[in-house]
């Protein structure tokens, strides 16, 4: 008998006579009403010591350039709206490269920053979910560079975790990975003292785009 069959037989034997418990009656995907979903999102992302700014749609290029004022080599996903990095690209000494899928890990390691879009923002937990569509790119892009600027639209915000699954379902069904990001990478492994920035980007800079919120004067 193969190990597979043997294991399945053992399971069946272990469950002989056991109550077969049905799935729970649960209302999946319930909404969590929040008085000001964007404000909650901003507050919760800031709790993780990430930088969050609220910008108007036409303020994205300036905000991206300001967030990356120290950057020199920036990688972007192939489907990122190019105008988002237009201001940044006009700065002397800044190189912006759109990933064509052929950069090795070592080559990616020579970029200091990455700009991506996002799929979903979860307000209560301050989480950004990437479903790695064309404007977010393959996983390595938003992992290896040390600074991640992530553009989230207010229309992508949901209240809490239960609402976040439905908008991610298509990507999973299409076989794409997901990355849930809540603040910069962090460790508390040394005497429980939190240190931000281990292997993932040490700086997470979130731009929350909404129509009511013009970029504050610089």
């Amino acid at each position: 008998m193969s190990t597979r069959d043997d294991m399945l037989t053992r399971i069946a034997a272990a469950l002989e006579g056991a109550d077969r418990i049905p799935p729970p009656q649960r209302e999946y995907g319930a909404t969590t009403p929040l008085p000001d979903i964007a404000a909650t999102f901003v507050e919760r992302v800031e709790d993780y010591r990430a930088v969050v700014e609220r910008v108007a749609p036409d303020g994205i290029p300036a905000a991206v350039a300001a967030a990356l004022s120290l950057a020199t080599r920036v990688v972007i996903p192939p489907g990122l709206p190019r105008e988002w990095v237009a201001t940044l690209e006009s700065v002397d000494g800044v190189e912006v490269v759109a990933d064509q899928g052929d950069l090795s890990s070592d080559e990616l390691d020579r970029f200091d920053s990455v700009v991506t879009a996002a799929a979903v923002g979860i307000a209560v937990t301050g989480t950004i979910v990437l479903d790695h569509g064309p404007d977010q790119g393959r996983r390595a892009l938003s992992l290896v560079p040390d600074v991640h600027v992530c553009v989230v639209h207010e229309s992508q915000l949901v209240g809490d975790v239960p609402e976040s699954i439905a908008p991610l379902r298509d990507a999973v069904d299409a076989g794409r990975p997901l990355t849930w990001i809540s603040g910069p990478s962090a460790t508390s492994d040394i005497e429980l003292e939190r240190v931000e920035g281990v292997h993932g980007p040490r700086t997470l800079h979130v731009l929350l785009v909404g129509t009511d919120h013009p970029l504050p004067p610089a």
Binding site: M7, P22, I165, R176, S182, E191, L192
Partner: protein
């Protein structure tokens, strides 16, 4: 390589040693206290916490009672998504499968994401024998590995080490296996973390093979989920060409939607955060993104034995959050090593004897590594009735030794000796439990305290012992423990 737990002395012997180590005890008290407070804070934020726990328990019970069906479905989904599925009956078979998969790639090293399942089977040691270096990439696991040490906590395995010790380990060991730490390294946690970042980056960028576990495996879609903080998981899951994941068969969830329950329960219970920094999901192979050679090893290693025990099977609901460790007065005093397993604390006390059987000294004594104060069951996010299981397993140990001297009783008496012989020690431990949010005033708490023997007799339907304080019980019994 980190040490194994083979040939561990029984819990009480190891506990006695650990109690003498005051540095470890201070570290532990500080750490468990901090996480306990954080957890309480974020759990209080959700007014439907109890409903979530019930949902978590119900989903797991549904999975466990249809485990054969869900595993076959998971296998199908994974295969369809381009992954190769392997089945491993025990540690030895799992190690053999993983070793031959690594060999087939020609790689001489692998990077590892912290995984309880691979620790449970002693994979690093098996790879070492095969001449393959396994690099742990979680900071705490790295500290444990470089220190030739054993993990002592599920979530923070190096909880027993302080910053000065970690600095020493880094200075002594890092350079021998890769990029050395900068000269002038201090014991500032930020500098220590930076040294680990630089040391490991070299390994991430060149690694061809990664090995992980999984927190959840979704039957419907074939999606695996890894929950982490540092980004070492993302590195391992993304950059190498080959990814091998060792997954306990109890990790299955039916649907993607079930994540809404567990992605609320796990981070809040585990690190005491609303959400952990990073969660990665992958579904077999994604062309152009991440490893293009993906393997999943479904591991039994005693789980079907636990499943066969009607009372014991609920231990398989466990999502390894470690909340029960942090509230346990016994764990807080003796630390993780005394449990002789990668699963310490209350969960270890109910899981190890079921996974490994109750033939060894340590596994026979583990069900007694508890005062039955009940704090563990109260915090468990999947409602495992840990005290009830402990009593159940005590009965099992005693039943298995019927005939000669009931060694379970002996164990119980010895177990009581270290913990209870000094009433201040005991009261302090109780205070720990009280601080954890358990109201000591609850009627049945004290009632359940009078020592291991009464729990043993309760479980055997003997008349309930007369109401008596623990200490008077002890005083009466102490002169004549047999």
């Amino acid at each position: 390589m980190s040490g194994t737990f083979i040939g561990m002395p029984k819990f009480q012997t190891a506990a006695k040693e650990a109690l003498g180590n005051s540095q470890q005890r201070r570290n532990l008290q500080h750490a468990t206290g901090t996480i306990r407070r954080k957890r309480a804070g974020v759990v209080d934020e959700l007014d439907n916490w109890d409903e979530l726990r019930q949902a978590g328990a119900a989903i797991k019970d549904n999975v466990l009672s249809h485990l054969d069906t869900y595993l076959v479905q998971l296998e199908e989904s994974l295969t369809q998504a381009g992954a190769t599925v392997h089945w491993a009956a025990d540690a030895e078979e799992a190690n053999r499968i993983v070793t031959s998969l690594v060999r087939a790639t020609g790689a001489e090293e692998v990077v590892k994401v912290k995984s309880m399942a691979t620790q449970e089977i002693g994979l690093n040691e098996a790879l070492e024998v095969a001449g393959i270096n396994a690099w742990e990439t979680d900071l705490a696991e790295l500290i444990v590995q470089l220190g030739h040490d054993k993990p002592s906590h599920i979530l923070v395995p190096a909880i027993h080490r302080n910053r000065a010790e970690i600095r020493e380990i880094f200075l002594r060991e890092m350079g021998q296996v890769g990029t050395p730490p900068p000269t002038g390294l201090t014991s500032n946690p930020r500098e220590l973390a930076e040294a680990a970042r630089v040391h490991l980056r070299e390994k991430f960028l060149r690694a061809k093979v990664a090995i992980s576990g999984a927190n959840f495996a979704i039957a419907e879609t074939g999606t695996l989920v890894v929950v982490e903080s540092e980004g070492n998981g993302r590195m391992c899951l993304t950059l190498p060409e080959t990814l091998i994941s060792v997954v306990g068969i109890e990790k299955v969830l039916p649907t993607l939607e079930d994540l809404e329950v567990f992605m609320q329960l796990l981070p809040r219970s585990s690190t005491g955060e609303r959400m952990n920094p990073y969660t990665s999901t992958w579904t077999g192979i994604t062309p152009g993104d991440g490893p293009q050679d993906v393997h999943v090893v479904l591991l039994d290693n005693g789980r079907t034995d636990a499943l066969a025990d009607q009372v014991g099977r609920q231990a398989l609901r466990c999502i390894r959050c470690s909340a029960c460790l942090n509230v346990c007065p016994v764990y807080q005093r003796v630390g993780g090593h005394a449990y002789g397993s990668v699963y310490p604390g209350p969960i270890g006390a109910i899981l190890n004897p079921q996974l490994r059987g109750t033939t060894s000294d340590v596994d026979q004594s583990l069900p007694y590594a508890s005062s039955l104060c009940g704090a563990c069951g109260d915090v468990c996010p999947v409602n495992i009735e840990i005290p009830e299981l402990l009593v159940h397993l005590r009965t099992r140990v005693v039943d298995e030794h019927r005939g000669g001297i009931p060694s379970g009783e002996q164990i119980a008496m010895k177990g009581a000796a270290w913990m209870f012989s000094d009433h201040r020690r005991w009261e302090k431990a109780q205070k720990g439990a009280e601080l954890s949010g358990r109201a000591l005033g609850k009627k049945d708490t004290i009632g359940r305290l009078p020592g291991p023997l009464s729990a043993w007799s309760d479980a055997r339907d003997a008349p309930t012992p007369p109401a008596e304080s623990f200490r008077s019980w002890w005083k009466r019994e102490k002169g004549d423990p047999r």
